[in-house]
Every structure is written in C-alpha cells, then in structure tokens.
Assembly symmetry: C2
Homo-oligomer: 423 residues x 2
C-alpha cells in the first residue's frame, strides 16, 4: 500500500502540470479506447460475474456488476462529456492587495491523491477516475472484490489511452486499482496521511461507517439520505401531492428520495386521504404515526401490508424502496424539530405558499440542500448544473451537497511581493 | 461526553438563529465582563499555576499558562475586534437559475459544533470561543489539564455575558469546556459524528497526530510548519538576505518561520557567506549540507555549536528556534523536488527576478501558501486581511492556509421552486 500511495503522490504532481487541452485529449482518447475494447471488457466482466455467482450475490447486485455493450458505450459517452466540461483548476477564487503591497490570490488546485471506495458497478471506475483526472487528481480505486477483473481492465485501458496521447507526460500511476481484495489493505492505505489527501466512500451506510472509522485522512461522504417533505397549512395541496409523489416514487433507490412525509395538523385531514390514494396507486407502503394512521387508512383500508404504525427506527431508516413514513406535525416548527431529530442532513423540502414560513424552514433546517416548493430529487450534480457528479456530501467541512468538478479541487494562496518582510 | 455533545448540538441550532447585531452585542458584553473579572481570573489562574509548578512545567510553558492584567486586557480587546468584523454567515457564495426555473443559491452557514483542542494558553479559550460564536458555531473547548480553572472561568464569564445580553435567546451551552482532564474523554467525544461537525487541534505535532488518529469527525490541522526559502540564481541577493533573515529570525517560534534555506548552486558561493554572517549576528545556528557547509564556515568559522552537517532528520524538523538548514540545489527544479520531499505543505517562498522561474515555483510547490519575493511569515489570518485567525490548515479538504471567520463556515444549497418535479 505504501508503494501504491507513493506512486500516486508522484503521479499527482505530474498531473498538476498538465494543461486543460492535454487532459481533454486524454479523456477523448480514453473514450475511444473503452469503446474499442468492448469485447475484452465483456470477457473480463464474465470472470467477475462468475465470482459473483459463486459468492451468491443477489440478482440486483449481479445486475450492478454486469457490463454489456450498452453500458460500455455509456462509459465512453460519459468520458467525452467530462472532456467537454470546463476545467476548474487554476480558477482565481479570490484576490486582494494588502496595504504593504503584497498581492494575494486564492487559486483552485487539484486536491492531490483521492481514494475512492465503492461497491460493485465497474462503470464507477471510469466515471470516478475521469472526474479526478480532469481536475488533476491521482486516484486509487477500490471497488467490490467481485469486480476486480473489470475494474483493473478499465483502469489499464484509461492509462494506456493517456500514455498513447501524451507519452511520458502522462503518469502511469494517475489511475490505480488496489490490486488485492485483502480487507486490511484499506486501513493501511487510509493511514498514509503523507500521501493520501482525501477518501470518498460510496455505498451503504455500513461501508461508509467502517471507512470513516478506519481513516486518518479526510473523508467526504454521506452516511444515508433520510429526506423529508413537509406539507404546510398554506401549501398548494395539488402541488404538494405532485412533489411528494415525485420525491418518493420517481426513483426510490436514490439517496435524494423522500423517506418521510410531514403534514401540518391543520391540513392533515384534507390532504392525507387523497395523497394516500395517490401513492397507493404507485404501490407505496405507509408507516404512519398514530395521528396520520386513520387518515391513511380512510384511503387504503386497514391492510397491514400497505399501512402499519411506524416504529421508532422507521423515522431514521433510508428505505431505498416504495415505503414512506407519515407523521402529523404542529406547523413548521414541528417539522423543523422532527427533521433536526431524525434527519440525515441531506435534502429536505417544504411545500407552502407562505413566504415567511418557507424562509423559516429554509433557514432552520440544517441540511445540504433545502427546497421550497420543489422535489428533493434535484439534489444531484447534473440537476444543479455542475455537469457531473462524483458524490453527495452531508459533511460540513469541504464540499456539501452534490460534488462536481469544482468540488474536487482545493485551493492555494499565491502571494506576489517585492521584498516584503514582516515588521 | 454524549450529554455535552448533544447540548452543544442543541445550542448550535439556537446560535444559527441569532442576528449579527445580537451576536455583536454579546461579544461586546463579553469583553466588558472579562475586563471586570480580571481579579477573579488572576485568582483562578493562580490555582492553575500551582498545578503547573507541581507538574514541573518548563518556564516557557508556565509563561504560556499565566494570565496577568495585560493579557486579560488583550483578551477583552480581541473580543471587541471580533465584534467589529463582518459576519460571513448568510453570505450568498453562488447562485443560478436552472432551465426548469429552479433557483439555487449557495449560502454560508455555521459549521455547527466545533471541538477545539489546544495546549496551555487560557487566552485561546476566549479567542477560539469568540470566533466560533461570531460565526454561529457552538464550541467544545479542551485546553491543557493544567489550565482547567482558568479555562472554565473564561467560558463561564463569556456565557454569563451572553445570557445578560440576550436572556433565553443565548444558549448556555454555546461555549463549553470539557469538564474532566480524563484522556479517554477525547476519543469518546470525537466518535460522536452525529453531534460534532469539526475538530481543530492546535499544538505540537504529537497532539495533532493523536487527535487525528482518534477522530471520526473531520479534523482540520497542520501537523507542522517546515517552511522553505529558495534563493534563485536570478534573485536580488540583498532582498533575498532580508527575506531569509525575516523568515527565520522575526519570530522563530511560529509555524510560518523558515526552517530551511535552499540556494541555487549558481549563486551559492556569492550569497551564502554573506548570508551566514548576517544570520550568525542574530545567533542563528546552521545545519548545512556538504555543498553549503564550507560556504557557511567561511563566514562563521568551524564552530560545531554554530554550524554542523545536516542529518537526514533535520530536513523535516520544525525547530521553532534560531536554527536553519541550508542546502545547495540545482535551480528551481532542485528546490521544487526538495520541498516535495521534505516540506510540510505550509508556506514556501522563492526569491527571484525571473518571472517564468517564479511562475514555475508558485505552480509546482504544493503548499497552502507560496510566496514570490516575500517572507513566509505572512501566512497569518491578520496579514491576509481576514481580520482574525483561528488556525492554519495544511489540509486539502475544507479550509487551506490561514482560517478566519469565513473559513469557520460551511454552506447549504437553498432551492426555490414553483412546484418543480424531476422527470
């Protein structure tokens, strides 16, 4: 691991010297090489699928592990899109001249060496590596052990494309895959504070907690997404229904989907039966508090497989599925208190026509993204106009919310003087 | 610790609701209360000095522990200065409207709960607490065990001033001191990721490494400051002499002081003897590489207590004292390579008249602050015009370089819509 990390550090210094044009030419070549190697990728992936079967992976996991021509094409397309994005490196974020004449500028620079730890999907290898490469960062990638053949080949192809384009100027260690499935490798890697600048784990809460506990280098992550939609007394209830349905049903497996609906007591009786019918027709299951339970049952009946009383754990569970918690709260302050207690600091929305109530919610809810009259599903680098997304952070240090290219940069202070000394 | 952390979290939510004016009135009142309590502070400090003596603290440590009327006055002055600074909370850092009409703004918000771990000086208690308070953060302070009486009284006085000013609106748990000197308290505290957002250790490298190893919450820190001044072939040698002298001698105990002088081989014979005389007259001791050793000895003689050959460890040692390493390097690339190998990513300077050489150095040296023709001693929140400084970071995630009020903020994304749902 030490050798791997040292080579990544050396590569990161070389990457920092590449021009935007050089990086974009590499990314375009990487797309071509990935496209051209589709048969070899499918072949390597077949070995991984075999491992997956022998490990008894679920059908969903097997699907995430699989590479097919369409997915390989989409990897190539995504590489070309990254080439087309503006390069944040070198951007002047701030500048000033001090009274003593010293000129200071705050300039975006690569973070350096980034470790990405993720689960199955081999397409993450190419996506994460390309975003890091575009921002001049060296990557060390650690996917699921069942995806090792696919991941290594993807990394090899990307590096080969870079070498073909820039020759010696492209550092071969810019993109590395941890070569061993050994579990002890990760704590060892994440203790090397001198060589590793950042770790980004992506996956289930268990993986992320284990990585955070083991790491001595900074970690950016979100543990989970327990997102709320609060429907206020002054909401447009038709709009509220559409937002709740979208936040829950449009893609329930994502972290920005809603897990909990909070309804102001003043409109609960009017809103909930209608909303429950709407969601029930989308096959949503309800975990309701005592006040909302009868209002849901009016609409969907007393069917235990469709509606049941919520347990204390439910309020903090990310279902990733067509299940929604429902609670009646006392106005916006009740919603704020519920979210403070149970939320995950990810994405939370209020639906209301009242500007003051909205302002109170947007101010008091301490989440990475807060919404007024819109679905929580927009918390996403593409939807935010970043052009890409490497992950979503609920941390308060470093990037918060969706992370695009700019969020893969650090900065340095450049001071230009004419002999200034401190008095 | 759990109770302490939960109370800090609750306090942080209340703090986030205070207006700038309310916070400033509290800070002014805090200054008055600290001033008025000078005799009590001296009294509490006397108990700590007694503990210090019984622990056999060095004279330097005892001096750092001591509070006297002048230092108490300076604490009060500093509180008034913090009141006068602009409040970064609520500043709109970025905004955009998406094609679907969703309006996004990126707004500075408090980080939340900040743990500050430091060594003796009780004045840090008031300084750190006031900067965190101004930015709406709750603080949990952990000073040296020998300073516990002073630190608790300072925190009590600050909180009392806040209560006197705002009554119930001021959360009493906004500023807390860890009440026990128990060492196990810190790992426990820093495992509470749900309640603690950031830890900032300040002190020796040993302390900082121990905190980083123990923490599961994000840590911002610098391990040490091994700063370099590189004197290029094209330097104005008179300017170079003044910068090296300032960087080494003006206040050698600080982290932004130079530890190593790198001299381009082309000017070593001309520059070094003269520079060595200059520094020797300031009582500087030299640890020189084989190429520079004779050039230093020309000026200061062969006195082993003034000049000796540098050991491998010397290049990575922060002396905090009137000692300087000297090495001859092959031009700017030699300097860049030396700094990449031995530097601490803190502050490094080049002295040259050649703009292209300067540009190469400023780009390739991966440190929080890089200087062209100026002393490294300027890496400081006040010198950078931040109006304050709570610490200096060499991390690449979160703040880098001096940290003022803006660097004590996170941000959130506020999305305002009119019923947008994701398609």
């Amino acid at each position: 691991m030490l050798d791997l990390a040292q080579r990544a550090r050396a590569a990161s210094r070389a990457l920092a010297s590449l021009s935007t044009d050089e990086k974009n030419r590499c990314l375009t070549a990487m797309a071509d090489v990935i496209e051209g190697a589709a048969p070899r990728l499918v072949e390597a992936n077949a070995l991984d699928l075999e491992t997956g079967r022998s490990l008894g992976l679920s059908a969903a996991m097997m699907d995430r592990l699989a590479l097919n021509p369409a997915r390989i094409q989409s990897m190539a397309t995504s590489l070309r899109e990254v080439a087309a994005l503006p390069d944040p490196v070198g951007q002047v974020l701030d500048q000033r001249t001090r009274p003593n004449g010293l000129h200071l500028s705050k300039v975006a620079v690569p973070i350096g060496v980034v470790v990405i730890i993720y689960e199955s999907r081999p397409n993450v290898t190419s996506e994460a590596a390309s975003l890091c490469f575009k921002t001049g960062n060296a990557t060390i990638l650690r996917g699921g052990k069942e995806a090792l053949h696919s991941n290594r080949l993807v990394a090899d192809l990307l590096v080969r494309a870079g070498r073909d384009t820039l020759g010696e100027r492209f550092p071969s260690d810019a993109i590395q895959v941890v070569p061993t499935p050994d579990r002890d490798a990760i704590p060892e890697l994440l203790s090397l504070t001198q060589y590793i600048d950042l770790c980004m784990p992506r996956g289930g809460e268990g993986l992320i907690r284990a990585v955070t506990a083991a790491s001595r280098v900074p970690v950016i992550k979100h543990y989970k997404g327990v997102c709320h939609v609060y429907v206020d007394a002054h909401a447009d209830l038709e709009m509220a229904g559409a937002i709740v349905e979208n936040a829950k049903c449009q893609r329930p497996s994502t972290c920005n989907s809603a897990e909990t609906l909070l309804v102001d007591r003043a409109v609960a009786a009017e809103f909930l039966p209608c909303l429950a019918s709407r969601l029930a027709s989308r096959n949503v299951e309800f975990h309701a508090d005592p006040a909302s339970l009868p209002l849901v049952q009016i609409a969907v009946g007393n069917r235990p497989n469709v509606v049941r009383i919520a347990t204390p754990e439910d309020w903090e569970t990310e279902y990733n599925d067509l299940v929604i918690n429902v609670a009646v709260v006392e106005g916006v302050e009740g919603a704020i208190a519920h979210i403070a207690r149970h939320g995950s600091g990810h994405s939370d929305a209020i639906v209301t026509r009242d500007e003051a109530t909205a302002a109170r919610f947007l101010h008091a809810v301490d989440s990475a993204a807060v919404y007024w009259n819109a679905s929580t599903r927009f918390t996403d680098g593409f939807e935010f106009g970043m052009g890409a997304e490497i992950g979503i952070s609920t941390d308060k240090v470093g990037a918060r919310g969706p992370m695009g290219l700019a969020e893969l940069c650090s900065y340095k202070w450049i001071a230009r003087g004419s002999g200034q000394v401190r008095g």
